[in-house]
Subunit: 464 residues, 2 copies
C-alpha cells in the first residue's frame, strides 16, 4: 500500500525556519521515514544474535561476526569495506561456575558468574568465611587482620535516586572493576560482588575486573541480586557466627588472539580525508547474545550508512561505520582505530558511539563542550530533532571505543548516543541480553537519530 | 545503608533560580527520592495483577479491585476514601473464539479475539468468503453488491512513520471502532480486523467496537498480525479464487451492572473545595492482567498521594486519586465523576490522566492550551522538570476518563501524562499485558513526574 506523505512532524515551526533549516527538516523527515518503514537494523540484529550469538573477543563466534559484518556491509555496496587487524585478550569462562552459601550444615546454591578476566579458583574451589562490605574504603579500615583468608562480599546496591541508570552504574562499578585487586592487597582469597543492577532477579551480571601489577590476582565473581540479598540476610541472621561461601570457577586467560575491527565507509564527495565515525562494539560477553550490548549499536551504525545510500544522500565528508572489537575486556579495537587514524594522517571531525542499548533515543551527549558550543548546538539543531523527541543535547560522556581518539586526533568532537537508560542495567552483561528484549521501533528510531545528527554535522560542521 | 544526599540534579542552573524556584527544585528532588527509594506503586501493581488479575467492568474481579483499591488507600491514611456508584456495561467474552482460514480444503486455525462489545456469531459459527479492505471508505465504493454475505477483513497496518505510536493507533483505529458497524450497512456477515499494533506476533488485540442504532450488529474480531499477514497472503496467492473464513464466538452483553469509581483524597489546607484530580482506570480488558492498561496509571495515581503524605507535604488544594471504572467499554466512571463534580459544585483546577502505559515519562500534554499558556508553562516549569527528563510540555490530548470534565466543569485544565510510547501497542489489549512487562523504575519515575507537576500546580496554579 502506498503511503501518503506524513507532514505533521515537518510543520512544527516550519514557518519560522530558514531555507537551510527547511531543507534540513525535510531531509531528517526522509531519514526517519527510511528507518521506520524500510529499516533493516532489526533483521540484521536478529541474524547476529540468533545465527552467531555470543562473541567474546578471541572466540570463534567473534571471528564469525567479523566475517558476517564485513559481508553485510559489502552487500550494501558501501564505498569501502575493510578490516583492521588487532590483537585481543582471549579470556574463557570454562565450566559453569559454582557457588554455595554455607550456613552451618546448610549449603545453598546461588546464581553467580565469574567476572571477566578473573583468574580461576583452585580446582577444588575455595571455601572461606565471608565478610560483607559496601565500600572499597572499608578494606583499608579493616586491614589484613580482618580480611586475610576471607572471601570479601561487596554488596553496595545501585543508588536508585539517579535518574539515569548509567550514573548508578558508574558509582557502584568500583566493586566489580577494582574489588578483587583491592581485597587481594589485604590477603582476601576471593571477592564476590552484588551484580551491578537495579533489578531484583536471579541473573548474575558479569563484566571486567582489572588486576594491578602489585597484588596477587584472586578470583572474582558476581552474584545475582537475589543471591546477594540471600547471602546478606544469612550473614545478618547468623549474628556474628561465621558464614562461609564456596566458589569454584575455572576461567582462564589464553594468549592474545588476532581479531579485527570491521569498517565500512561512504567516501566524502568534497572532503574524503575528513571523517565522521559512527560505531558500536561487535564483541559481547559470553553469557547471552549481546543484543543490547552492543548488537544494537553496531547494527545502528551500519544502518546509518544504509539509510544514506537508500536515500541517495552522498555525504561531503567520509562517514564510517566501525564495528569495534574488544570493547568488553580490553578496548583494543578502539585503541587500534585511533592508532591507525594517526598513522594515516586522517582528519576526524566527529565520532559518535552507540553503546548504551538500543532503547528509545533521548538525544546525544557531547564530551567536554564549551558553554558556547553547547549553546550553539542547541540553538541550531534542537528544534530540528524535537519533533522526533531526540533533542536532549547535553554535556556528557561519549563511549570507550571512540575514547582513544581523544588527544591523539586533534579537533575531533566525541559524542555519545543517549537512549533511554531505565532498562539497560536489567539485562546488561546477563544471560538475558537477548534479541527478544529489543524493540524494533526503538532500535530504528535510534539509527534515525544518529543518521540525522551525522547529516547535520556533514552539512554544517561542528565549528561553533 | 544510609544514603548520602544526591545533589547533582539540583545543581543544574541552581545559581540562576529564584528563591521560589529553588524551593520547588528541592521539593521535586524530594518527590523523586521518595518515589525511587521507597516507591510502592510496583508492589501494589504486583498485587493488582497477580492477586486480582483481569477486571473487566461488571466482573467479580472488577468488584474485588474496587474493594482492594479502597482498602489500599485507607491503609495509607488519606483524608477521605470513598466510592462513587455507577452502572456499567457488562460484556462477557464467553468461550475461546475460533477462527480458520479456509483455502480450498485447507483449514488453518488463526489467533483471534472477539472485539469488546461485539455480538456473537450463530452457535455453529459463520463461514463466508473474505474480502480484504484497507479503509472504511472502500465499503462505499464497493457497495452491497460486493460486500453482502461476506466477511470483511480490514487489514490496514499502523503507519510506522509516526514518532508516537498513539498517532498510528489513532489513524488505524477506525477499523476496530467502526468497522463492523460500517460493513453491516452493506450486508457483511462479520468483520475481522488486523490487530492495532506495530508488533508482528501472534497476540490478538481486543478493544471496543461500537454499533450505531441503524445497522444490524454483526460480529467483530481481531486477528493477530501474524494471522492477518497469513490471511492476506492466502488471498493474494488464491489469485481471485474465493478464500473463506470461519468465525465462531459466543460473547454477549448482559444487563448493566453496579460498580464504582474509587476516590482517595488529601484535603486541601487552604482551598478544600478546589480540586486537582489524578487518575487512571481500574477496569481492564479480560485477556490478561491490565498491567500497563491501566494498572500502572491507577497505581501511579495512588502513589502521588502516598508520596505527598510520606514527605509531609500538605497540599493547599484538595488532591484526589481517582480509580475510574469502565474506561474500556463505556467510559461510565468518567461520566459519573464529572456528573458528581457538577452536582457537588466542586471547583476543578486540573485533572491529569495516566493511561498510556507505565513507561519512562517524557512529559505532559495540555488539552487545547492557548499559545501564551503553553509558553508560560514552559518558561516556568520546564527547567524544573528537565533534570528528570520529563519536561516535554506540549499541546495534546489528556485522557478519556477525565474528558467528561471538559465543558461540564468550567476552568479545568485537562492534562495527559506522556510516557514513552514505543512499546505500548506491543502489549495493549493483549494476553501479554502482564506485570512482567512493567519496569519498576519506569513506573516510579512516572509517579514522581505526576506528583511534581501536581505540586507545581498546587503551589502556583495554572492561571497563565
Amino acid at each position: 500500500m502506498k503511503l501518503k506523505p506524513l507532514l505533521s512532524a515537518l510543520l512544527i515551526g516550519a514557518a519560522s525556519l530558514s531555507a537551510s533549516a527547511q531543507t534540513d527538516s525535510v531531509t531528517i523527515r526522509k531519514i526517519y521515514d527510511e528507518a521506520l518503514v524500510n529499516g533493516q537494523a532489526y533483521d540484521n540484529l536478529h541474524y547476529l544474535c540468533k545465527n552467531i550469538g555470543q562473541r567474546l573477543s578471541g572466540s570463534t563466534n567473534a571471528q564469525k561476526a567479523v566475517e558476517w559484518g564485513k559481508k553485510l556491509m559489502e552487500s550494501y555496496g558501501f564505498d569501502k569495506v575493510y578490516l583492521q587487524e588487532v590483537m585481543v585478550p582471549h579470556w574463557v569462562r570454562g565450566e559453569k561456575e559454582q557457588g554455595f552459601i554455607i550456613d552451618g550444615k546448610t549449603r545453598t546454591p546461588v546464581a553467580l558468574a565469574a567476572l571477566g578476566m578473573s583468574v580461576a579458583t583452585p580446582k577444588e574451589g575455595i571455601t572461606a568465611e565471608v565478610i560483607e562490605l559496601h565500600d572499597l574504603k572499608e578494606l583499608d579500615a579493616l586491614g589484613a587482620d580482618k580480611i586475610k583468608g576471607k572471601i570479601v562480599f561487596f554488596n553496595r546496591p545501585f543508588d536508585e535516586r539517579f535518574i539515569e541508570t548509567g550514573a548508578a552504574y558508574g558509582t557502584a562499578g568500583d566493586q566489580r572493576r577494582s574489588g578483587p585487586d583491592a581485597a587481594s592487597k589485604y590477603g582476601a582469597v576471593a571477592v564476590i560482588i552484588r551484580s551491578l543492577t537495579s533489578a531484583l532477579d536471579n541473573y548474575p551480571h558479569t563484566g571486567t575486573t582489572s588486576y594491578g601489577t602489585v597484588n596477587t590476582p584472586i578470583p572474582g565473581a558476581a552474584l545475582s541480586t537475589v543471591a546477594a540479598n540471600k547471602l546478606s540476610e544469612t550473614i545478618k541472621n547468623a549474628k556474628g557466627k561465621p558464614v562461609k561461601f564456596f566458589l569454584k570457577q575455572n576461567c582462564q586467560t589464553l594468549p592474545d588472539a588476532p581479531s579485527f575491527n570491521v569498517v565500512g565507509e561512504l567516501t566524502g564527495t568534497e572532503n574524503p580525508n575528513q571523517f565522521v565515525t559512527v560505531g558500536g562494539h561487535l564483541d559481547s560477553w559470553d553469557l547471552a547474545e549481546g543484543a543490547h550490548d552492543d548488537g544494537t549499536g553496531v547494527m545502528q551504525s551500519v544502518e546509518v550508512l544504509r539509510i544514506f545510500k537508500a536515500m541517495g544522500y552522498k555525504p561531503k565528508h567520509s562517514v564510517r561505520a566501525v564495528l569495534f572489537m574488544n570493547e568488553e575486556n580490553g578496548g583494543r579495537g578502539g585503541k587500534k582505530y585511533a592508532e591507525l587514524a594517526v598513522q594515516n594522517k586522517e582528519e576526524h571531525i566527529a565520532a559518535i558511539e552507540s553503546d548504551e542499548g538500543g532503547f528509545t533515543p533521548r538525544g546525544f551527549s557531547f564530551e567536554r563542550p564549551s558553554a558556547e558550543f553547547l549553546k550553539q548546538v542547541n540553538a541550531n539543531w534542537k528544534s530540528l530533532l524535537a519533533p522526533y523527541e531526540a533533542d536532549m543535547l547535553v554535556a556528557g560522556g561519549s563511549g570507550s571505543d571512540i575514547g582513544p581518539l581523544r588527544g591523539s586526533v586533534p579537533g575531533v568532537t566525541l559524542i555519545g548516543f543517549r537512549p533511554d537508560s531505565q532498562r539497560y542495567f536489567d539485562i546488561h552483561h546477563t544471560p538475558n541480553d537477548v534479541f527478544e528484549n529489543v524493540n524494533k521501533r526503538e532500535l530504528h528510531l535510534g539509527a534515525a537519530a544518529m543518521a540525522s545528527l551525522i547529516y547535520l554535522i556533514d552539512q554544517h560542521g561542528l565549528k561553533f
